[in-house]
Amino acid sequence: MTTLAPPAGAVRTPGPHRGAGESRWRRRAPLLPALVFAIIVTQLPFVATLVLSTLHWNILRPGEESFAGLANYGVVFTDARLRAAVVNSVVLTVSVVLLSLVVGLVLAVLLDRKFIGRGLARTLLIAPFLVMPVAAALLWKHAIYNPTYGLLNGTLNGIAQLFGDRGPTIDWVSTFPMAAVVIALVWQWTPFMMLILLAGLQSQPGEVLEAAKVDGASGVQTFRYMTLPHLRQYMELGILLGSVYVVQTFDHIFTITQGGPGSATTNLPYEIYLTMFRKYEYGEAAAAGVVVVVGTIVVATFALRLISSLFREEVGR
């Protein structure tokens, strides 16, 4: 359905007054404050990052600032910690996004049907997304994963005691650090995926589904051949927006594991933070920042293309 819509630029009919300077400026005037603000606050820091990334600058060694050329990028690409951070970022982002997408799809399909208390169930299900991320991270770390009185070990212990045993005392965060972070994040992001997929399910034209039913298609067939293709755009949107947000994860790492043990859960944002505020290597931190931006632009290009197809669909309507 997107391919049928002409590109957004082509639909626009030029107005007869185009070129009349005054009217053009009157039209632009409402846009300018926002545009100028966005350029100053978002683009200038990035230009500054580019400049900083070419400097040797550690504030623990004052007076030794010098031009470094691309040396910082050399460090970024050869540093073992940073490479580990790249791997951790990819592992974290891919697993969180895919797991929350799958669980979100299951929940969306369940909630697309009418049942007793559906509205309440939906309300309860979006709660994890609304809990403040720092609060959620602390909740998981202390109230759930804690080895002595966390809910997880506590429940296992309670069940074990029914059979006369003593439950296990597993320190979840240090034994499975990455899994601990991933699960806490999946819990927080699943409602996001569910909401987007639910919107997709509910935008399916009813008569098409009814026609499929009349033609004798089974529920599974309808889902496989009609619903899933219809949902594809929504899944892509969820994956891409989810990736853009999850790759920036800072709160959970900072709170649950502090990047540890060792550097087992240090992702790129946290590594940059460490370089900046623990090692005070400003040049290196800036170079790493530039690398992250370039990586994000690659992902974002796909995101923009996808969103622009949704966007064109609306414009061409």
Partner: protein, 302 residues
């Protein structure tokens, strides 16, 4: 002020066509003919729901338990309840942090609306040339990881003496939410039917009258939804808050983290704090859950 009729109608045709497609949506029929779930699936849905909600429920429940009961193993669900931890939080001076959070979130949300609504107008009802490019520029700023901008922002803010100042956060949160708001508001404004605007013009309404009497009432729910999303993201923001504030301007998430490391862990009190700081967003989100999707997807999904 008069309305530029010729250019207005010609350029607008692409944006705000009547949308028969939306009327076909199943959501409309859902109440009458929607598929009924079998009891087994209802049970599965509810079990999963409660499973997902359990950590939140546990957080709230623990916040009302005494510390000794909160730290018991196996967990005591039916321990006596107490309000004391919420009182203790105010004894620990959580109020300034909540006030900072409220200031940063509310002021930046107002600022975002002030910038985004006119911009969205210029991008939808009377679109400027290359308006799609402008839209994508705004969106692309959302994709820049804030951590990459933290260092220069930190240096600049330090230079101008605005570290530990809540208005630094206001500016940053405004730029963080501006693209979302422009996209959302544009999608709401694009839905204002062309016929209504034309009718207003025919009736001789000027631009201001048209905007105030015709457009505003239609997009008011959209503005409310946009404000809500901006408020949620600002209220929950942590990275800038923890790195750019120290004592005076710290927000609620910074309070939470600081309060853990300062002394031993008080689990019940932590849960009370986590509940308290999450409450505004939870309430706002529950009230406006229908609008959340649109905000989270930048207006791309309705």
């Amino acid at each position: 002020m008069t309305v530029d009729v010729g250019a207005g109608t010609a350029e607008r045709t692409d944006v705000a066509q009547p949308q028969p497609a939306r009327q076909r949506r199943r959501r409309v029929e859902d109440t009458s003919t929607g598929a009924k779930a079998g009891p087994v699936w209802t049970l599965v849905a509810w079990i999963l729901t409660l499973f997902f909600f359990a950590p939140v429920a546990w957080m709230v429940l623990t916040s009302f338990h005494r510390e000794a009961d909160a730290a018991s193993n196996p967990p005591k669900v039916l321990a006596p309840l107490t309000f004391e931890h919420y009182g203790e939080l105010f004894g620990r001076n959580i109020a300034p942090f909540l006030i900072n959070s409220a200031t940063a979130s509310v002021v930046s949300t107002l600022l975002v609306l002030l910038l985004a609504v006119p911009a969205a107008y210029a991008l939808s009802i009377k679109p400027v040339q290359k308006w799609t490019d402008v839209m994508f520029f705004f969106l692309s700023t959302k994709f820049l990881p804030p951590i990459a901008a933290l260092l220069p922002i930190y240096l600049i803010v330090k230079q101008v003496g605005m570290l530990d100042n809540v208005y630094t956060l206001v500016i940053l949160y405004t730029s963080m939410n501006l693209p979302i708001a422009v996209w959302m508001m544009r999608s709401f404004l694009a839905e204002v039917p062309t016929e209504i605007l034309e009718a207003a013009e025919v009736d001789g309404a000027g631009l201001i009258t048209t905007l105030w009497r015709v457009v505003t009432p239609i997009v008011l729910p959209g503005m409310a939804a946009t404000s809500l999303i901006c408020f949620i993201f600002s209220w929950n923001e942590f990275m800038f808050a923890v790195n750019l504030t120290a004592t005076v301007a710290s927000t609620a998430p910074v309070f939470l983290v600081g309060f853990i490391t300062s002394e031993g862990l008080f689990l019940a009190q932590l849960c009370a704090a986590a509940t308290l700081v999450s409450l505004p967003v939870l309430i706002a989100g529950f009230v406006a859950q229908d609008k959340l999707v649109r905000g989270l997807s930048l207006g791309a999904v309705k």
